[in-house]
Structures are given as structure tokens and as C-alpha cells.
């Protein structure tokens, strides 16, 4: 965990760790894991709200809890940039981490795999592997997506690859 800022570290320690090692093909054990995922997400979302650091919405898109959709946003130069967020729980979960996708940014940065999957290889995958099965979706968002947004959104904005929705609307009108 060297190289992580103290804020992220302290947030991370407050997200409940998970205990059940089960994937979507494990029947009742997966239901148990899903409950733990929800508890961690509820704790993390609540913590973000109370710290005035709310930055995502995520909810299961199917009853099995294998597909998740929502939104995430990042504030840069006092402007809020919002993106769709989606991912599948892989069959080998939690041995392998979910591949977080921001489909609207597909093709706009090379730190992304096809289909808008953000690159987690360097900063997150080793951490996930070392902490299997204790890390869950909430940890993936905290340690995978948040640093990616912090690193990439400013570059994307400054290079003109993405525009704020107000700017885009006004330039569209003119």
C-alpha cells in the first residue's frame, strides 16, 4: 500500500472487509457474498456522503447480482464530469477482479481496454489478488476506479477529449 495517499488509506480501513469466497456460480454462498457486498457498499456510500465526497451510484442490474450499472463523477476545475459506469461479475470472481467499464470514454484514452474497460493492471490488480477474498466491489471502486478518474479525467479535459456537458451543449447550439 505504499504510494497511496493517507486519505484513501483511512477510507479503505473503514470499508468492511468481506469473508465469503464465492462467485456467481456458487449458489447459496454467492447470496451470502452478495449480502457482504451490499454491506460494504452501503458503508462506503454512507461514509462518502458524510464526508461530502459522494462520487458514484451503483446498483445491481439483475436479481442475481452479476451485472451492475450506475454512474460516477469527478470534479475538475469546479466542473463536474459524469460518466456511465457498468461491469459484470466474472465467473471466476473473487479470484479475479471485476472489469470496470466506462463505455462513454471508449477509444478516448489508451489507458483502457476495448469496450471501455479501465486499465487496472498496474495500480489495482496486484492489490486485489493479495487481498482475495476480503476485497469486494466497494474496494474495487475505492482503489481501482477513484485513482483512475483522478489521473485520467484532468488529462482528458485538458486535451479536449471530453467536454463539460454545458460547454458541449453551448458549442452545439452555436
Amino acid at each position: 500500500m505504499e504510494g497511496w495517499d493517507p486519505n484513501t488509506k483511512s477510507t479503505l480501513t473503514q470499508i468492511p472487509l468481506l469473508t465469503t469466497k464465492a462467485g456467481p456460480r456458487d449458489g447459496p454462498a454467492w447470496t451470502q457474498r452478495l449480502k457482504e457486498e451490499y454491506k460494504a457498499l452501503i458503508a462506503y456510500t454512507g461514509m462518502n456522503k458524510s464526508n461530502d465526497n459522494d462520487w458514484f451510484r451503483i446498483s445491481a442490474a439483475n436479481p442475481e447480482g452479476t451485472r451492475w450499472t450506475g454512474k460516477c463523477w469527478y470534479v475538475h476545475n469546479l466542473l463536474k464530469y459524469e460518466f456511465d459506469l457498468q461491469f459484470d461479475i466474472p465467473v471466476t470472481y473473487p479470484s479475479t477482479a471485476p472489469e470496470l467499464e466506462l463505455p462513454q470514454l471508449d477509444g478516448k484514452t489508451h489507458k483502457m481496454y476495448r469496450g471501455g474497460k479501465i486499465c487496472l493492471t498496474v495500480h489495482f490488480k496486484p492489490l486485489w489478488a493479495k487481498n482475495c477474498p476480503r476485497f469486494g466491489i466497494a474496494h474495487a471502486l475505492c482503489l481501482g476506479l477513484a485513482p483512475w478518474l483522478a489521473a485520467e479525467v484532468p488529462i482528458l479535459v485538458d486535451s479536449g477529449m471530453i467536454k463539460h456537458k454545458d460547454d458541449a451543449a453551448s458549442s452545439g447550439e452555436s
Binding site: Y38, T45, V91, T92, T96, R114
Partner: protein
Amino acid sequence: MEVELKEMQDDLESLKRALSDPNHHPLILKLQERVDHLTNLAKSATTRRSKVKDMSAEVVDSNPYSRLMALQRMGIVENYERIREFSVAIVGIGGVGSVAAEMLTRCGIGRLLLYDYDTVELANMNRLFFRPEQVGMTKTDAAVQTLSDINPDVVLESYTLNITTMKGFETFMESLRNQKYCQTKNGTGVNLVLSCVDNYEARMVVNQACNELNQTWMESGVSEDAVSGHIQLLIPGETACFACAPPLVVASGVDERTLKREGVCAASLPTTMGVVAGLLVQNTLKYLLNFGQVSPYLGYNSLKDFFPTMAMKPNPQCSNSPCLERQKEYMLAKPARDAAAKAKMEAEASLVTECPIHADNEWNISVVDDESELETTDAHTSSDALPTGLVRELPSADDFQKPPVPEETGNPIDDLEELRRQLDALNAD
């Protein structure tokens, strides 16, 4: 196009007749030759060979299998035609997978199952197989197009799906289990699975599927800097599975930043990919047609042209539960395996003893049993035993630490619906 060329030929003929000056004739003759050449090219482009019923060893130009059947005459392969009975699944039709598929197609493999969810891009053109005009097609469709042209005898099945998703995985498993075309001992419909994917997640999925199905498979990979690669044979229960050893970054604790330069996309070379595909298919042919030695692991370091080989035993504490089941089955089958090996040895030995090597024994030399035979067999039964004088650096591990039992009383809410509502409520504002 052929019609046009024919008209052109006629025009040239009438032009030749109309011209009174014979000095122009050589030029027209040259033009006519060129049109003939183009006509021949156009013809060969459209002809597609028909299916062949039996593989023939007859040496004629028109026999697509004569050079392969010659392997029998050379004493390399006992029965090459068996290749038509085999089914091979190739997961990932990229730089390695597509070339492996072409090689197997040209070898006349019975059936190929192809899996990929990607489309062909111009960025793929530094590798072999795909052509620029196929850009935009799915890799599976483009592969079927090319492969069926090369060898219409091969049965091709293509699956455009992502095997890491639940739905994709189910289809993947079902297609491997489908026994309509061929049946194998372990109850699947394929003889071998080749993993030619480019990421850890997909490899873990192939590993999961093959461990569950008790399906032998081969793994292949090319490093991100494009100068080294490897192939590995995985027999569930018998050799290490892909999850038996943790990835280097996890095992050694090195910072992966030192392994991968940030922000640089993976490099690839047609050479390294072609070499790895060649090694993979060579090992496949040896495995299927039963010749030579099948390598359990073969590395390729192109900078030093170093080809290391090794074998890996399964990890008795592997985190993959089907792997542990397969290991148990393999242990239980040991007596039968030993008996078979012994019978084979005896059969070979009896062949040898039938004729004594030396008729006379002037010096009365005789072979006696090793005194320590009992001792050595003891050592062999426990595979962990080390020769005297050697000690292991690390203590042998205990059983896996059982994760602490979740304290249900600590959190009163334990209803999935209730939890879902709570998160929705948090999401609402």
C-alpha cells in the same frame, strides 16, 4: 471479371488484324500474354477445392494431404489420418490463436471450435493471418471465412462471446460438453482446449472450465514486450493448474510498475507470435497423434534464443476447488496407473529377455539387486522425501487458515432485499 478479360482479348485480336504495320505486332502479343496471365489469376481466385472423403498418401500435386501422410512413411506418425477424428477448441483468435487455427486447419484437423468477442482492427495487421479487408468483421467470422477457403474438410464452429461473463461461460461449457461430433473419455466433446487469450482473467476462466470438466488443455502466452513467450500443458489433477501458483507480482511482492511501463500499450511481433503458435501446435500434434515427447512447459526467450522446459506438480493447497478434486481423483487412480506401468515394463522386459544379449559370459558377470532397494522404494512412496543431507528452506505449510466465521449477530440485517433497499435509498439522494 473473366468476361471483361475475354472481351479485351477479342479486341486485341481485331486490333492486331486491323493494323497493317507488322512492327506493332510484338507489342500486341505482349499485351495478349498479360491478359492471359490475368485470366489465369482470376480463375484460380474463384476455384475452391471440393471436400476430400479420405486422406490419401498418393503423391500428386492435387492431393492436399500427400506431404502430411508422408509422416507415416517416414515413421514419425503411426496413423496420421486419425487427425480427422479430433476436435480442438481455440479460445482467443488473436496473434497466436488465429495462426494456431490456420496451422491445424492446414493439417486437416477434424473440427475446430473458435471463441472470441473482438473485431479485426488495423492495429492487428502487424501480426499474421488477418487481412486489411477484414477490418470490422468479428475475428471469429473472419477466421471462418479464411479457414474454410483453405481447407473445406475442417468442421468449423465459431462462438462470438466473452467467456468471462456468466452467459458466455455457460455457452462455453455447453459447447465443450457437446458430444455430437466426437466423444472423449472424460465426457467432453473436445480432445484439447488451446488457450490463446491475452489476459489473466480469461486464463483463469479457461482454467476453471477445464478443471470442472477434467479437460486437458494447453496455455500459451507472449510477453508484453513481445520478445518472449511460453506454452504449457495442463492435465487437471496431474500437473499444476493455472491457479496453483500465484502470479509473480503476488508471490514475490515486487511492484508491478517495474514489470510494466505505465501508459505504454503492449508490443507485439509477428515473429514471436508465430513461433509461439508453432510451438503450441507442434505440442498439440504430438499430444493428439502420439509421437515424440509432449512438453509440460516450454519457454521461449527470443533475445538469447533460450528454450527452458520444466514440469510443475499441482499445489495441494490450490485455491481452485475443482483442481483439488481432480488431484484427489488422480491420487486414487495411482494403483491402477502403477499396475499399467508395471505391466508395460514387464511386457518390454520379456521382449528383451527372450534373446540374451551375450551368449557367453567369460568373466561370470552377473547383475545383482541393489541392497538398498527396500529403502529406495520407501523413499519413493513419500514423494516429499529428500536425499540425506538436504533440508527444505521453508517449513511445510499447515492447512489453510480457515476464514473466521462471519459474526451474524454483529449485524442484525441479513436480508438481501433489505440490503438492496438500503443501498437504493442511499442512491436516491
